[in-house]
Symmetry: C2
């Protein structure tokens, strides 16, 4: 078997598992975004602020992936929602098997949201379907405007692009308009939100986006149970 | 053949090629650092400033890797040194075969430095030996202090850690002392330099470091030709 064959086999096995997860999520009416970004683009802090700002009766659970450490799970657990760390032990991305195992006995039908925070990596996570509804790609203004062109596969698969750390715009060379043009070169119709988790900018739009997705997923699951 | 077997085979073939490259570099007295970081941590700008500040008679060439685009090669070519882009076409790291091909008919013995800028990725590039003398890992202050603990394999293999964008320290939550402690937890003896490419901080130390490495490589190559 060649390297390519093995990689194909791994990916198709992953797709099978991801498909099963997608069905479970759909039947349960859960909205599941998969957050992808470079290391340090602010995935965890965005999730912290989001958990803090969601209505207190929101039923949300979080899976957070890292190669090593459970730092992120500790940070996220402070908001009172169930959080599980997936430590990949060297692997540069989450895969569907890891999600399946981590979900374990969690009852999806009791949830409205399942947030998945991927390993910090703008390349490999995009190739692994986790059964999520959307890949949400986060680009920090400190990274430069050209990243969508350099990592096109990831941006092309995004259901939403969040441009993060916009409070730092005065201190870095980053042209927001050019960055958005570059996103649209690889993905013309994708929605883009400007956010700062530290300065709490853009959270009204972000929370409305989440809420509308949640409603869509709920309606879809109801359409499935009542023929 | 299992996935692990195939990966082992790919890595050992890579190691063989990297070993041959390392010998060629050693015989030519070239110092070859392999720059590794997250996307947007500032590899290209660091190299731009370095090319600008090196003495004009320095003999340096640059190989720069990206998944897509030749933006970096264009930026780097402005300084009058030979630059070649390696476009990996999807691959998340450079490997020794790509370096071998890109070097092609370049005469290593005419060089003092060969800079290799890897694909922006804090995980996968660390597993692929390119025959380089040192992996230089760049961590930007916008990424957070915990990155050495989360990406320990990369930091453990660093010959030097550069903490970059220190001009942004007043605007971000980043504890430089904690970041250095974290680097030393995974790699106790590694040297760490604080740099800002935009504010041109730390370049005296960085250029001295390069110069001492260049001298070591030159001496080693002379020791080899005169028994």
């Amino acid at each position: 078997m060649t390297r390519v064959d093995v990689q194909q086999k791994v990916l198709s096995e992953n797709d099978r598992l991801a498909g099963a997860l997608r069905e479970k999520l759909r039947d349960s009416g859960v909205y599941c975004p998969n957050f992808i970004s470079s290391p340090g683009a602010g995935k965890t802090l965005l999730l912290e602020r989001t958990l803090q700002l969601l209505p207190r009766d929101t039923r949300v659970a979080v899976l957070t992936g890292d190669i090593q450490t459970d730092n992120d799970a500790k940070r996220l657990a402070r908001y009172g929602f169930p959080v599980r760390q997936i430590t990949t032990g060297g692997s540069c991305h989450l895969d569907a098997r890891m999600i399946e195992r981590a979900l374990d006995e969690w009852k999806l039908e009791t949830l409205q949201y399942l947030f998945i925070e991927n390993v910090g990596n703008l390349v490999c996570p995009a190739s692994y379907d986790l059964g999520e509804n959307d890949k949400i790609v986060i680009l920090s203004v400190t990274e430069g405007e050209d990243k969508p062109l350099k990592y096109p596969a990831t941006f092309a698969r995004a259901g939403l692009v969040i441009i993060n750390k916009i409070d730092l715009l005065p201190y870095v060379r980053f042209d927001l308009a050019v960055a958005k043009e570059n996103v649209r070169k690889v993905h013309p119709e994708v929605e883009i939100l400007d956010v700062s988790s530290t300065a709490r900018i853009g959270f009204d739009d972000w929370l409305s986006w989440l809420d509308s997705k949640r409603k869509q997923c709920l309606e879809r699951s109801m359409a499935f149970v009542t023929p």
